[in-house]
């Protein structure tokens, strides 16, 4: 390391690796992992999100989970909460749909309307 700019470069890279501990992330993907969610394949959905986010190097996205959300008939349910925008809830998710959400919504910024079951007011 020779300059402050080098230090800054290292810092930015290291911050990505600590992003889970940082509350200032751009997008939070919250997968509902209650019993019914898991029964309907929420784990595969979450894995698809994790995998897709990693391969696309989306460093400002955090994937996490929560308990039962109450939409048992539409499990697996996933919330996407984007900074400064109303939260979106996707239902009846699958691994393939998850990958599509990553591309369309998280990368291009266009929520995938056909999967949405509710939008935050």
């Amino acid at each position: 390391m020779k300059t402050l700019a080098d230090l800054k470069a290292i810092r930015e890279k290291a911050q990505q690796e600590m992003k889970l501990r940082n509350s200032n992330v751009r997008v939070k993907v919250i997968v509902g992992m209650g019993t019914s969610g898991i029964a309907m394949g929420a784990r595969d959905v979450m894995k698809a999100f994790l995998d897709e986010v990693a391969t696309r190097s989306l460093t400002d996205v955090v994937v996490t989970q929560t308990g039962e959300k109450g939409f048992s008939s539409m499990e697996p349910v996933v919330d996407v909460i984007e900074e400064g925008k109303p939260g979106v809830t996707y239902g009846n998710m699958t691994a393939d749909k998850a990958r599509k959400v990553v591309v369309e919504h998280l990368v291009n910024g266009n929520p995938v309307k056909e999967f949405i079951i509710s939008t935050e007011k």
Binding site: M1, K2, T3, L4, L7, I10, R11, K13, A14, Q15, Q16, E17, M18, K19, L20, R21, S23, V25, K28, V31, G32, M33, G34, T35, I38, R43, M46, L50, D51, V53, A54, T55, S57, V62, V63, T64, Q65, T66, G67
Partner: protein, 615 residues
Amino acid sequence: MPTKRIDLLICCGSGCVSAGALRIKERMIEVLHQNNISDEINIIETGCMGPCDFGPVMMVYPEGIFYKKVVPEDVEEIVNEHFIKGRPVKRLMQQEDDKALATKEEIPFYQKQVKVALENCGYLNPEKIEEYIALGGYEALGNALNGTPEEAIEVVKRSGLRGRGGAGFPTGMKWQFVRNAKGDQKYVVCNADEGDPGAFMDRSLLEGDPHRVLEGMMLAAYAVGASEGYFYIRAEYPLAIKRIKLAIEQAKEFGLMGNNILGTDFCFDAQVRTGAGAFVCGEETALIASIMGRRGQPLPKPPYPANEGLWSKPTLVNNVETLGNLATIFLKGTDWFASMGTETSKGTKVFALTGDIQNTGLVEVPMGITIKDLIFEVGGGIVGDHKFKAVQLGGPSGGCLTNDHLDVKVDYETLKEKGAMMGSGGVIVMNDTNCMVNIAKFFLDFSVDESCGKCAPCRIGLRQMYEILERITKGKGKPGDIDELITLGNSIKQLSLCGLGQSAPNPVLSTIKYFREEYEAHINEQACPAKVCLDLMHFNINKDKCIGCSLCARRCPVSCISGSRQDKYTITQVDCVKCGNCLEVCPVKAITKESGMHDDMKKKLQDLAQEALEY
């Protein structure tokens, strides 16, 4: 690129490790593996999170959930419920009024705290330099290197930072002395010879955020013009030694240490020296002697280390916590730092809370906080139904404060005025079951052991004081003993060569000042009011309550309890060894501790004395 979704921070400070944190980590790895989710979760060992009494503790991010008192059997539930189903385990959270407090921010223990030196402690992985850099590490150094050393000294002077090792000498002024001293080679030494009983601030900081201390040392080195540094750490802190050595290695690897740091002319190298755990080596001249491989004994001052220190070269000696404050001061500015604290004491102070207090642990609070807030708000008050009696600040060099001092503000001057001292930050809280004469004896015993023996007031005087205390606690105190203790104490304070002797009488003098009646009871009435000194208390069986079950008699190791179901039981006082077994086993609580030597015992002692005379 991370595919992780959870950062699990397990506190691996020494407190939590001894409470079993490593077993939990092993179990966690096992359970995660069984559930096939090892690759989704990051397990990070951090330094001390603070609330050692709750240990082992852990935090789960991104939610920031705080779990306490986790045992290996809980791990499966945490993984199944929280990590897989996203339902945090309420049972393991801190509870208050039937409500589970999920995150750190909700817990009262943390609310009055302001973390400067401990900012990252318990939050980052101390063995990864990248995490320190991610949190702004080494930026302060980079910025300072773009300015002049004088500017760096000016920053520290304006911040009002004072030495956190105990004496409270203004850090900026100390730097200026070393800067001004003439010498072709200068050194910086980090004093990590933390030896007070009940103090673990420096250890926690070195273990939890070693790079912060290292960066602080480099800032100091640049300011005073030193090119070499030494960490003097006691050998009893193996983890701190390991972590700081690793930090030095990593800094070298990243080019943050060595020649021409960040493209400037500044060159710096640091080494670790381990001490063999002699208390006196915390005194700077003794510490310097020890680094040079000599016997750890202090030298008269002047010359001060700033002019003639390590190998007779100008040397700056700063405490761990002092160095730990620097990076944040340089980044956030002097005004921010000086806005905390009192007129003469700025910033924050780390304290190690121990003794009869609810929340034992490591805390950092703004200077100027009252003793009451420190003990009852942050510390959570006294354990059990007991009352607060006294608090010993500054370990064996400090003094005690009482109920009357709860509104006293914690700053260097005020504490000194009241007969205590800031010290390095050990806070030992005592409830009403403590005998203050005995406490004073305990601390003095420590100082007698740790006296290096170089100067007579400390070597002989402290021993004399100890013998007087010993006889007072044995019921052989004489009228005039208290005055003798005061005279001796004051002389030792004035005549001793170094800080050890100059402060060692403090616990005795301050307990005499605030608890003189306890000393008097010991001497005049041969009674220990707190029923601690065994010779000055006795056990008694209340015959009205006794049911004659004979349990006490059967448990007595010296068979000094006799009686029958009809006559009830009695203790033969002269044979009693005060083991307390009878008190523990009595099913109807008929046995009590009584203050004062029993009359039978007094008579026996008189008879013995008479016999000796006649012989």
